[in-house]
């Protein structure tokens, strides 16, 4: 979780798990399971070995899909839009909303959520599928809210000028 750009014109954040997580979570499963599958094959238990191998391959693919997903949030003052790009190993989706529709960001149940006021009551959208601990999510919510405040002040000044 980090801010890539934070200027009065643009705020860009990226939310993804560090690559280290992928190795820490999948490494032991694939390593130990692979050794067992290899031992089964060496011991002549071909059916067991192949079943272990296939199961591990599936688990590793699923783990890779869920752990490497990332979300990029970009707020642009000029065009007045919010861009959310979700990238996974199977698809890339880009969502665009007007900046006026974004009310704020908040952390609830350890999820960083964007509050969109297009609907009534407002819809709270989790930016990533995993809950977070520590101060990163709160820091990002504060960064988004501070940027929105500056942008709204600018809009108000433009209207009164």
């Amino acid at each position: 979780m980090k801010a890539l750009e934070n200027t009065s014109e643009t705020l860009e954040l990226v939310l993804e798990l560090p690559r280290m997580f992928l190795w820490l979570m999948l490494g032991p499963v694939v390593g130990i399971g692979g050794l067992i599958a290899f031992a089964e094959l060496l011991g002549g238990e071909f059916l067991q070995g192949i079943a272990w191998g296939l199961t591990l391959a599936l688990l590793a693919s699923m783990g890779h899909f869920f752990l490497t997903r990332s979300t990029r949030l970009r707020l642009e003052a000029g065009p007045g839009r919010v861009l959310i790009r979700r990238v996974s190993s199977l698809e890339v989706k880009t969502f665009e909303f007007p900046l006026q529709s974004l009310d704020s960001a908040e952390v609830t149940d350890r999820y960083l959520r964007l509050v969109f006021s297009i609907t009534s009551p407002a819809t709270r959208v989790p930016l990533v599928g995993w809950a977070v601990s520590g101060g990163d999510a709160g820091y990002l919510a504060d960064t988004i809210n501070a940027w929105l405040k500056i942008w709204r002040d600018g809009e108000m000044n433009n209207k009164t000028a």
Binding site: M62, L83, L90, T94, F95, T119, V125
Partner: protein, 175 residues
């Protein structure tokens, strides 16, 4: 939710729960491997257990998760057609476009654990009253629903300009 086609005359969006497809599809595939292994080894209890689980999860996978919902709004035909493509047949519902006021996201909290659940609603005018028709989507992401609401409501509002290409100018901004 993905925009397939967008012009001033037509709007087409599609929804499929890819996350659930990967998650549950993977579990079903692992159960399939377990079933075959039990079959080759002649383990009766393994065959029964894995086939029961396979049947239950496979049914959810085939009827709910491998179901693609396509929204097609056509100004010339004056209709909103919602087609649900599943393995055991298609379902089509058609609504008159002039009666469609807007699309809404409804947030409700689950009675057991109070976590929010999201639904997409069609708001239709019936004489002087409004009726809300819930759309059957499997565990939708609120961002998908919000995007569908924003896109369809902008398209319905004739005062808003509609880009001819889906996501025009968006892809270049986020690389």
């Amino acid at each position: 939710m993905r925009v397939i086609k967008q012009s001033s005359a037509e709007l087409e969006m599609t929804h499929m729960p890819i996350d659930w497809l990967v998650g549950l599809g993977g579990v079903v595939a692992i159960l399939g491997i377990t079933f075959l292994r039990a079959l080759f080894e002649g383990a009766l209890s393994g065959i029964i257990m894995s086939s029961l689980l396979l049947a239950a999860l496979g049914w959810i996978l085939m009827t709910q998760i491998l179901r693609q919902v396509v929204f097609h709004a056509d100004r010339r035909a004056g209709t909103l057609r919602i087609r649900s493509r599943a393995m055991f047949g298609d379902q089509v519902a058609e609504y008159p476009l002039p009666a469609l006021k807007q699309l809404e996201v409804e947030t409700q909290h689950n009675r057991r654990h109070s976590l929010p659940e999201y639904r997409l609603l069609l708001v239709l005018a019936q004489g002087d009253t409004l009726s809300r028709v819930p759309l059957d989507l499997f565990r939708p992401d609120p961002l998908d629903l919000l995007y569908a609401v924003s896109t369809l409501n902008s398209w319905l509002d004739p005062s808003e300009s509609v880009p001819e290409q889906p996501g025009s100018g968006v892809e270049g901004a986020l690389t």
